[in-house]
């Protein structure tokens, strides 16, 4: 049910929140078109020179490619492992639930630098040579708690009655998951996957230590800051933002369209509504 309750207070808050979130980002985009190399006001004029520089720079494109590979792999594997883990943890009554929850939360409590060096030492001990693979592994460790927290919040709040009914009607566990659980939570999981992607893409502290003779984009930017800070980093960031947003819109449209086709007439709802017992869909 698209329950719309008028609530001007929270609506105002949301607008303020959106402004707060996007104002700096719009500033980033603005300065990416700056005709001079300054990142502060006064704004002298428009130019695409920084984009030209970014596109003609091979080092940047190599670094960006590496970042993309790692972030995509990390996001995909995290979604898989994280959804499984969250589903498992919220559907079990085992006493291991508490300790496992703690384990899944643990990686964020240690500084990234520490994890990076510890992994480096570990990899070197077992003579596992450094590469984008070791980076992905390290990122998985780092990103997992973020995804898990969201997935768990989403999954544990589903009314078990729906799933039980489906199971009673003879549906196997996988079918229950696929046709009852997943449709209710997938938008949130996609959002969390996006977050996982962004976290991995942006990471440079752990990455530096476990990477082979490569660089990712944030490593390039962070190192380049030493010499000079110019709007080319704004250009890179704006491009990235536009690109990932586009990616998400496309993914979302595709999945929604797919959902709609599969459900046929059944789905008249906005798929982002997290349904509960009162809404009956088969």
């Amino acid at each position: 049910m698209t329950g719309t309750r008028r609530s001007p207070a929270t609506g105002a808050f949301t607008i303020a929140g959106l402004v707060f979130l996007w104002a700096p980002l719009l500033l980033v985009a603005l300065f990416s078109f700056h005709s001079t190399g300054s990142l502060t006001f006064p704004f002298e004029g428009f130019s695409t020179r920084w984009y030209d520089e970014v596109f003609s720079n091979e080092v940047i494109s190599t670094a960006a490619k590496n970042s993309l590979i790692v972030a995509t792999s990390t996001a995909l594997i995290t979604v898989l492992l994280g959804t499984l883990a969250a589903y498992g943890l919220t559907r079990t009554s085992s006493r291991l639930r508490g300790p496992l929850s703690l384990l899944f939360f643990l990686p964020i409590t240690l500084p990234g630098l520490f994890i990076g060096i510890a992994l480096l030492v570990a990899f070197s001990r077992v003579e596992w040579s450094l590469s984008l693979v070791t980076v992905t592994i390290a990122h998985l460790v780092y990103v997992f708690p973020f995804f898990f927290l969201v997935a768990r919040a989403a999954l544990e709040r589903l009314d078990p009655a729906l799933e039980e009914t489906a199971a009673d009607l003879g549906a196997g566990r996988w079918t229950v998951f696929r046709r009852v659980t997943l449709p209710q939570v997938w938008p949130v999981l996609v959002g969390a996957a996006g977050l996982a992607f962004a976290l991995s893409f942006d990471e440079f502290v752990i990455t530096f230590f476990v990477i082979g003779p490569d660089s990712t984009l944030p490593l390039y930017i962070w190192s380049g800051l030493r010499r000079t800070i110019d709007p080319s980093i704004n250009a890179i960031s704006t491009l990235l933002l536009a690109f990932t947003m586009l990616l998400f819109v496309v993914t979302f449209l595709l999945t929604t369209w797919g959902e709609r086709r599969r459900r046929g007439r059944g789905l008249t709802e906005d798929p982002l509504v997290l349904t509960g017992p009162a809404e009956g869909t088969t």
């Binding site: 959106l18 979130l21 009554s93 520490f114 030492v121 996006g194 990932t244």
Partner: protein, 289 residues
């Protein structure tokens, strides 16, 4: 109530568990051992000792930075949750057709590069920044405000900016089972808005809110990049000490002790908050079937 899926599910956590045990717990336990050894240059040597931990706790600068971490981390976490809650509420109940777009915009803002964002805040908060220029332009102030940047305030603002989208997502997920009809029923039964919040919304959202709070706190307290760029001399936090230990002085043992001391602190906080939740009985989600 029969739970048909009670034993099997645990198996699903296996891949993640094994992965974390192998690539996280094992290397870190090995490193934990380091914290009891003696640090030599970018390496460790055998005399076992507790000195590292002693130094961690007794150094003045660590205490000062720990205080900073508590304050900044706490404020960042608090404001993140405070601002995210109404936003999540609106998304769940009042968004209607706008839900998809707004949620997308919120999550998308997370996709902006971390480093570039921090520089954007400098453009906003600096003497010649957007805020100062705006205020001067409309005549509210004559001189640029100096206290906006290079201090704890700037660091806190930037951290909230970074974590807000995430907290919104967590709380939105948390509000899922609370049907609008329950709220309407409560309203019909005479509960005022505040009461509805306190007795219906809050209990449901308490656990995810506390988890999100903890997340933001832990990550903020250990951050060392944001404070260096925005914190001036007063906004530096504890995370930088780990960096100095490992990279600057090459004392792996001290660095390990530092990291584990911080971990211990966070675990204490986690335990306290979990206890508080259990005592107020806000930790379990109950359904009125």
């Amino acid at each position: 109530m029969r739970k048909p899926l009670s034993i099997g599910p645990l198996v699903l956590t296996a891949p993640a568990t094994v992965g974390l045990l192998l690539f996280f717990v094992a290397p870190l336990v090995a490193f934990g051992v380091y914290s009891f050894l003696t640090g030599t240059l970018y390496d460790v040597a055998s005399p076992l000792t507790l000195d590292n931990y002693k130094d961690v706790v007794e150094t003045d600068v660590n205490r000062r930075l720990a205080r900073n971490s508590l304050v900044v981390g706490g404020l960042a976490a608090f404001f993140s949750v405070l601002i995210a809650l109404p936003m999540a509420y609106w998304l769940r109940y009042s968004a209607g057709r706008w839900r998809g777009i707004v949620l997308f915009l919120i999550v998308a803002s997370f996709l902006a590069s971390y480093l570039v964002r921090i520089f954007a805040w400098r453009s906003m908060l600096g003497r010649n920044g957007a805020i100062n220029r705006g205020l001067e332009g409309i005549g509210v102030i004559d001189e640029p405000l100096d206290f906006l940047l290079y201090n704890r305030f700037a660091v806190t603002v930037a951290l909230v900016h970074i974590f807000l989208p995430y907290v919104v997502l967590v709380l939105y997920a948390g509000l899922a089972p609370l049907q609008p009809s329950y709220l309407e029923t409560a309203q019909d039964l005479g509960a005022g808005r505040l009461q509805r919040w306190r007795r219906v919304v809050l209990p449901l959202v308490a656990a995810p809110a506390v988890s999100a709070f903890l997340f933001v706190f832990v990550l903020s307290a250990a951050d060392y990049v944001t404070p260096q760029l925005l914190g001036g001399t007063s906004g530096i936090m504890l995370g930088v000490q780990v960096q100095v230990a490992f990279i600057g002085t090459g004392d792996f043992a001290y660095g390990a002790a530092m990291a584990f001391a911080m971990l211990a602190g966070f675990l204490v906080l986690y335990a306290l908050l979990a206890l508080a939740l259990r005592l107020t009985r806000l930790d379990r989600v109950r359904f009125a079937a």
